[in-house]
Symmetry: C2
Subunit: 391 residues, 2 copies
Amino acid sequence: MNYPFLMLSNNRKKRDEIFKELDSLQQRDFSFSSGHILGSMCTQPHPIAHEAYIRFLETNLGDPELCPGTKEIESRFIAFISKLLHAPKTAVGQIVSGGTEGNITAIWIAKQLSGKHDVVLPESAHFSFQKIASLMDMKLMEVPLTNDYIMDIQQMKKKIHKDTAAVIGIAGSTELGAIDPIPEMSEICTDEHLFFHVDAAFGGFVIPFLKELRYKVPDFDFQLKGVCSVSIDSHKMGFSAIPLGTLMIRQRQWLDCISVESPYISSEKQSGILGTRSGAPVAAAYAVARYLGHTGYRNMVKSCMDVTKYTEEQITELGLSPVIKPTMNVLGVKLKKPSRIVKKLFEQGWRVNKVDRLSCIRLVLMPQITKQIIDEFIPVLQKTCEEEGEL
Amino acid sequence: MNYPFLMLSNNRKKRDEIFKELDSLQQRDFSFSSGHILGSMCTQPHPIAHEAYIRFLETNLGDPELCPGTKEIESRFIAFISKLLHAPKTAVGQIVSGGTEGNITAIWIAKQLSGKHDVVLPESAHFSFQKIASLMDMKLMEVPLTNDYIMDIQQMKKKIHKDTAAVIGIAGSTELGAIDPIPEMSEICTDEHLFFHVDAAFGGFVIPFLKELRYKVPDFDFQLKGVCSVSIDSHKMGFSAIPLGTLMIRQRQWLDCISVESPYISSEKQSGILGTRSGAPVAAAYAVARYLGHTGYRNMVKSCMDVTKYTEEQITELGLSPVIKPTMNVLGVKLKKPSRIVKKLFEQGWRVNKVDRLSCIRLVLMPQITKQIIDEFIPVLQKTCEEEGEL
């Protein structure tokens, strides 16, 4: 760029000063590459995602005729997700910034289609539904869980009534990675003509591969005819960069009810919540999906599940117990005072998260977590638990 | 990264194939650096924004204890915005993805504080308010404009009533860059105890500098005691990268009414709409703000205004008329059939946008648009207008 008012060439010193400041602040962050983040559902983006991202930084998919090429990349990426989730030809994909926006968008559609405001969901649903309740004046009808920490079907039936706008199923709970009985829920929603949204923000990039690896997991996607929408995040197990999720929607025309006219930009209508949105995370997610492909993701999931099993064994050997046998690469570990342990581990440079509701800490065995890292972590956990009277 | 399952080293060929595909698609996009995008309120990010962005790609400010350093950068950036907008000490800044999320968040607060659902806004308000109406079941009370295309105060008074949750003022309309009479609106809202939100997504990085350059523009920010919140975008005239806006809110405690408990992550509560969000655009916006500083932005605005004046003169010389004398670097040009002209210009490789409502095309003279580019554009516009019977 050659803008006289910028005086770029004169300001190398200023630039260096700014990056010294940024670098010094960045030192305080935990990094994924250290392996010490054991409590996040994100990871560092795959190198190819990184490379693609920076090439598309200036694109704005909110104004699609400015960037028909990037728009085509978006279409190809949505086609990949569509295939992964067995979406029918009538389906449409809406790019979102992540699981929260995916959930909001789904409920927005359900509200518009039904004119109703009650949402039936399991107690394990993500806290974004609390936002939805407040933002959109929806009423949450929480259903207790079974002993396996999944939606209790009999209890769910009792909550459904004439004002129900939507039913929510979780395919990979944020707490434990547990998968609700989506097939049974799908049948009930079909019978009752209810909008059924599946939150697979985490599990969407895990369950399809678990099935191929012969783990016993229920169906969760558009193969079940009652499933109306599925939310799936690329910046979680899709190994790409924030902010990128996709909401797949069974019927293209359902988007119309959340579309508004969009003067001043190149398209006549705009659907979805946000306006201006970068093409960079879309290009990144597409690049990594193309690069890894089905086989690459399956190998990744296999590797994560191996580390999860290993961690579970190590935890058990210490004398601690998992909350449930892990369904995917999320491991809840029962503790008396999880807050104390989280704090103590933090002081020693390890970052794990707690779930107070279940009195546990939660480890997420993302791709960057290897058995070597677990071998480093276990003695620290053991010592901490001993000091705090957990062992 | 050294993950065995990735087999990175084996796949240089695959990587090259993917980037060949991405590059070839990117060829179809318009680029800001070509100068041929005359209709967007975005621009290519400043080089320093670009450089900062890529360094913070893996950070997640939705989980702030993972990245205390990046969180500190966010605080410093908000302090910059706070000062720019003369926010009081009681104020708080909420980072958002852009103007649309800024507006949604402001109305969400107003709805929670008032328990009401009517929004009084000028006809020139951005189409994101149509989304808000649908998403949040708000009723929009549109106020006609004066001959200067700004909120008509007398008409506005008539629309205010007992169910009014918020009044919206636009400081730099998307159509024409016009600024509503914010001081008068502020007084009325103070008297009526109404939540007053100012949408300065575009104008927030323009008006403060116009004032210093002695352009006659009204006050629009927290210096007016009735202003409750201001939305301002860094990815527009802040010269940074998508997605980055800030919603400044007069009273910190107002955030509480849109906060929810956030188990599984490191903070106890999360406010705002989105969950996972990257620190990269925040670091980018901070870096460019630090680099340009007040003086750099003022020089930039001066340069944009010079080009705007030049363009207005050239347009007038052709025999075309501006819709209004430009308030900022946005120029509406009256046409009989703006759609035809937009289409014909598009076919010749120029991208301008139209505003059907005002029967005009809209040029946005962003930093990348120089007088030389205008000199290239004017003959194309002239020829097109002659062929289409506009001249």
